[in-house]
Subunit: 325 residues, 4 copies
């Protein structure tokens, strides 16, 4: 199995297919025909073999991709929010008066890692209103709370411990965790949203969450929403070298034996070599885009809108734009 | 008793003395001779009578005042950090390898209320290092963690519930809570630091914390550190009217009967009248200074330095300035 | 003439009328029937007498007031942008391919003074595109540039000198200057927009602009757009005292002689007295609202949208929301 | 000549020497023995040949490198500020009562490009005080002004036109321009400061300044101060490939012919190939570090301190730390 770093299930699948040219055993894929602007891929890992080959737990991984998001069209943004809301509704447990805790993972002070906290600042929070008016249900709203637990490097406490403590006190029926991810491809930065029902796996995300956040650890279902905001530097270099070799091959008749050698080299060996070579660049090197500040602002609004519509039954996009921004 | 809004014990005492010209029964006051630049007042409420007259729980209230803080002299700042550290050490429970959780109350998005979160961002956090290296003691460091729980209006959860949840999971021996306060006097904004051993009382602070944070609710001692960042608008107007009346009196021989009437009016009636009259200005009116952004930055550094020195036995101010800023 | 500090022509008029109960000589007022949500007042100072009584230069002062702006309804925001655009079009010189420089006055680092710079960050800037493609006209766009000159306290240079230098190099046909204002009433903070054709008068604004920015000094017409973001502390106290006196009068039969004395006191004497009394609060005291950060974000978008529609003939609100945010 | 993108003269020299193993003709290099912590290299391009080979105008290029800057030691920071001040004094024209305009190039809204504006916010500005008190000299201060002209993409105006306009109005004797740079090596990000006497060359910097800012265009001497805040992605990949090839060579006996081919490939061909291959990553890809927000804060303070000491004869580092931060 190849260990190229990616937080996106669709990329793990792509990598497998690049090598094996077939669908991964134990994995079901569905690509509903949507619009031309938004592409949805639903990857379902159904058995242990699929889990092993994909390098992640069994469950659903839904990806929304909209290349046009880069050029910031308000209609497309609204459509992505609506599509996101629809996919979220399909994975949120069916329960009357569900009580949801939204968790914004990541670090306010590191721009590409600030996605989670930024989404939280735009969530329509209602739990305290239910408490204040002593209500347990409402035709248009459900009970929503929202926290930003920080990262272990700045709190000194495992993020999962903070969330477990808050879950035990506030007793939600569902946790939705938002996090920034790393992609293999710059084109996916800010244009792709992944929903998964398996929680957040250790080591994922730009932040440094250690323990798992999932139904097992929190006692309630955990849905994760992630957006790539950075590209892994080693991955980028690895891909680039592959492309350089390809380009050189077509340019030259010579050295064909060597190209074969490099081509045949196992992906993980090559990746490890590059990792080692990049070490002087420091553990903290990130590859991102100049517009990352603006991108975090935009995509966090899209996700917050999607969540606000999905969680509050009587609220639609018009209301979200009208009352909440 | 007069209900003029102030979060500072020294101001409650001042108000009492303005009216009664004597020390409050049940209250002990100590003003150690320090330097000319920093004035320290230690108010100890020792019985129920003192508690009733001061309008706050029994315990110690230490105030550091340094008028010069406004003009930002680095030496004075360092001296205030050192004085703060010394006073903190005097109220921190004597315990080997004490494990402290620092809590930054308040709202990142409202500048005068962002003091708590700003201090947290400058705290030397070590708890995760003790865990990582599986240590329980260290000659120069103690175990410190730090969180910013947010405010109920943005989380939907009682702040005390969030903190209780985190305390139960991370098991500190001591909680130190930082909050922004309201003063009666603009001259105290950013120049006064109050330490108290009684926790944070309900309704205090710029934020809207409802339940108490104290040893009873959290199960461990709670030390509160507060700095005034705003002046209550009704208080300012009230004080101004008093001064106008005084000024008019000295200007005029006429109307002396009326002045007497206004002077004799009970403080709380006058305050209630002004509150009512100010209503159209909105519940959210704040009186602060133009430099509030810079002031929050400066004073949060002073407090963080004081905490870092007080909590880590092997660290002095030179190290704090050297390694942590 | 009364010297109560206000940057709004409608408030100068109100003050006059409170005292004299008649329209100001030399001033024409028009209040077109709009919608119920937005009230427009067009004050035209037509002669020297009007100028003297209003304490500002001859010219047009248009005020849009929308109390509902506080609760942030997207439709109302859009309507205000459209109404603003319409009023702007009525005062912008009729000229083909007009070249406009938008100037954001004020200080980024002082939240209530950051309105101008915030608007600039949302303006659709095109001048460089005209240059790049060597065009002088376009059916849907006009040439727009935008600068934030800073304030003299941080640049060391008169703001008018910076703007004059940029005007001489970039040769616009029109300057539109945005600034934060002070109002007498908290209810006007963030709900009122003033357009004037007379430039920015010295001493106006929250910032400390000294020299005038007008057609005389810049050589091209200057339109000013201002929004109150603070209330003057002395004004607030003055108004409050007035209301307290009124309230006391109705409560009490006594002291009627004194009330008469206070009532008869000249406005400017009273104001000067309060100013003096407030001195210990410092020159930098501001009275504003807790939500000022959010308010600056919202109102700057409304103004930027209004400007973008007014300046670019082929662009309407849908495009603005679609492409520019 | 090799076209690898670098804004640092020391890197152009390194590249030449990597290929030719000799000093560049027409270039004089001086490396004064300083401390162990700070390395200073003074590169002087003295003739046209040197200018052609270095790809930059004749003049002085002084580089201060302090690897330790990454770990934020206050003493080292102070030493770098002092060393910077000393080097600046050596290139600032000797003139009594010199009047300096400091220009912060770059874009506030793009973190790695915000260095210039951040430095400006920490400069001790005095020009308006000289004007206010009608003074032309002072024993401890010189006249300093400071502006942030923005970038053409957000102003619509050539940055050089804005600066020329301000220079004509405010008539400084000297312009000092601060800008963020790109380096070939991540280890130089935030640890290297370059001073040059030749102004800012077109195309340099992270921003998109087009016309030159130099003595010819502005009429007064221009000193540029730059700090690398990003690494060029193509450069990083190029360097990585070189290192991979080296690593592979030592691992393997095979393919030696190919390695020779790749090794012999001209630097510029290789770079162009990688540029092409990286195109899908987008024009806006940046390679930087996770800590870039903190780094910009720290290094801007170091530079501002250096400038404040160099420009104001009566001020030393103690005063800077005492009064200005």
């Amino acid at each position: 199995m190849f260990q190229v770093r990616t937080d996106l299930a669709v990329e793990s699948r792509e990598l497998y297919q690049e090598n094996k040219s077939q669908e991964i055993p134990g994995v079901e894929v569905e690509q509903p025909k949507m619009s031309n602007d938004i592409e949805i891929t639903r990857v379902k890992i159904i058995d242990d073999e699929g889990s092993r080959l994909m390098g992640r737990p069994k469950g659903s991984y839904i990806t929304l991709e909209a290349r046009g998001l880069k050029s910031a069209d308000a209609d497309l943004k609204d459509n992505v929010s609506k599509a996101l809301a629809k996919e979220l509704v399909s994975v949120i447990p069916k329960k009357q008066n569900i009580n949801t805790l939204v968790v914004g993972l990541g670090n306010w002070d590191v721009t590409p890692d600030a996605l989670g906290p930024e989404v939280i600042s735009k969530i329509l929070v209602t739990r305290h209103l239910f408490k204040m008016y002593n209500k347990s249900e409402d035709p248009s709203m459900s009970s929503v709370s929202a926290v930003t637990p920080g990262v272990m490097g700045t709190t000194g406490i495992e993020t999962s411990d903070i969330i477990t403590g808050i879950v035990e006190k506030s007793k939600p029926d569902l946790v939705i965790a938002i996090d920034a991810l790393a992609s293999r491809k710059m084109e996916r930065v800010s244009t792709t949203i992944q929903i998964s029902t398996t929680g957040i796996s250790p080591g994922s995300g730009v932040g440094n969450l250690r323990k798992q956040l999932n139904e097992e650890t929190l006692g309630v279902p955990v849905i994760a929403i992630g957006v790539p905001t950075v590209v892994d530097a080693a991955t980028m270099t690895n891909d680039t070298i592959g492309m350089v070799v390809k380009a050189l091959k077509s340019h030259s008749e010579q050295g064909s034996e060597f190209f074969k050698l490099l081509d045949d080299m196992k992906e993980d060996e090559k990746y490890a070599l590059i990792k080692e070579v990049l070490e002087p660049y420091g553990a903290n090197v990130i590859v991102t885009t100049k517009e990352i500040d603006k991108i975090i602002t935009d995509i966090s609004q899209i996700i917050a809108n999607g969540l606000n519509i999905a969680l509050h039954p009587g609220i639609d996009l018009k209301d979200v734009n009208r009352y909440l921004q």
